[in-house]
């Protein structure tokens, strides 16, 4: 298992993800004449990226306890100050590393 370059089922999963994504990239242009994007639909689609992010992050922070919550909070603070995502990511993981070094579990 570990020595092989690719696994059939993983490549199938990647192919399915690709098919979905490519259809979305081409689909809007293709269906332009049949679709009416109302302000409500635009608003709902506009809220999606941020909603996906909180849906993905909050349960992880919740379960990860103090270390995860501190890492996420410091990353957001660093972003607010520096406006650079590289700085935010490094500050967030460094916080987690330091807390673990200090003996905090999680």
């Amino acid at each position: 298992m570990t020595s092989s370059l690719v696994h059939g089922e993983v490549m199938l999963a990647i192919a399915l993800m690709t098919a979905v994504t490519v259809s979305l990239r081409l689909g809007g242009y293709l269906l332009m004449s049949y679709v009416t994007v109302t302000p409500r639909v635009r608003r709902m689609l506009g809220a999606l990226p941020g909603s996906v992010i909180t849906a993905a992050v909050l349960p992880v922070a919740w379960q990860g306890g103090l270390v995860a919550i501190a890492a996420v909070a410091v990353a957001m603070l660093a972003m607010l100050i520096s406006n650079r995502d590289i700085v935010a990511v490094i500050a967030g993981s460094a916080t987690a590393a330091l807390l673990r070094l200090a003996g905090f579990a999680g």
């Binding site: 809007g28 608003r43 990226p49 941020g50 849906a55 996420v72 990353a75 957001m76 993981s93």
Partner: protein, 215 residues
């Protein structure tokens, strides 16, 4: 362009590291980045990555990918008035380079009166190459580390995601859907695993956005 490329490098390295932790091989990781080419959907996909590739697990993966990348559909709509006169064999390959960053910079360029398609295509090619290379680099970087948790590597993705909310912030009213999404996700996470909490949360967020009126 430089800040976009730099942040693409950072995100690519983070994703490559994450993929290695999740047990993907180098070839699988780079293939996913090159073919799917949507960082957010790749991370979400890996977050609930199945150990058993049953039909229902693959269906949930497709549904999660659909929910996360639905915004590409909306971006694709905006190309019809611009590229409508070009032959389809030129248009469709071009549309494959739709990403958040490339679309946003192109919209700004169009607002300023630009009309050259190579602005979108050239930027897209550069960002694609950057993304694939950075992913590979992140994968290799992660395999050097014996104890990634000691360096906080497992929290790179949550930290990166949370930092993305800062520039996306447009006020309390626009943030209500995010809060709804996060709370629903936490609740569903307690009941079922897989991708369902991400799908349920995102959907609840979108519905909340639809219910709240524009002011």
């Amino acid at each position: 362009m430089t800040p976009i490329v730099l942040s693409q490098v950072a995100f690519g390295i983070v994703f490559g590291t994450f993929a290695a932790q999740k047990g993907l091989t180098f070839v699988e990781t780079v293939t996913m980045s090159g073919a799917v080419y949507g960082g957010l959907s790749q991370v979400v996909g890996l977050q609930g990555w199945p150990t058993d590739f049953t039909v229902s697990a693959l269906f949930a993966l497709m549904l999660a990918t659909f929910a996360v990348n639905l915004r590409f559909f909306l971006m694709s709509l905006t190309f019809r008035p611009w590229l409508g006169a070009l032959p389809p064999w030129q248009v469709y390959p071009t549309l494959l380079f739709i990403t958040d960053a490339n679309w946003l910079r192109t919209m700004r360029y169009r607002d300023e009166g630009g009309n050259d398609v190579s602005f979108f295509l050239g930027g897209g090619l550069l960002l694609w190459v950057t993304w694939v290379l950075a992913t590979g680099l992140g994968f290799l970087f992660s395999s050097w580390m014996t104890n990634p948790k000691a360096f906080g590597v497992d929290l790179l993705i949550p930290a990166f995601f949370a930092s993305l909310l800062i520039p996306a912030w447009k006020g309390m009213r626009q943030a209500i859907p995010w809060l709804v999404s996060g709370l629903v996700a936490v609740a569903v996470h307690h009941v079922v695993g897989g991708y369902w909490y991400i799908i349920a949360g995102s959907l609840a967020g979108a519905i909340a956005a639809g219910v709240i009126d524009d002011k």
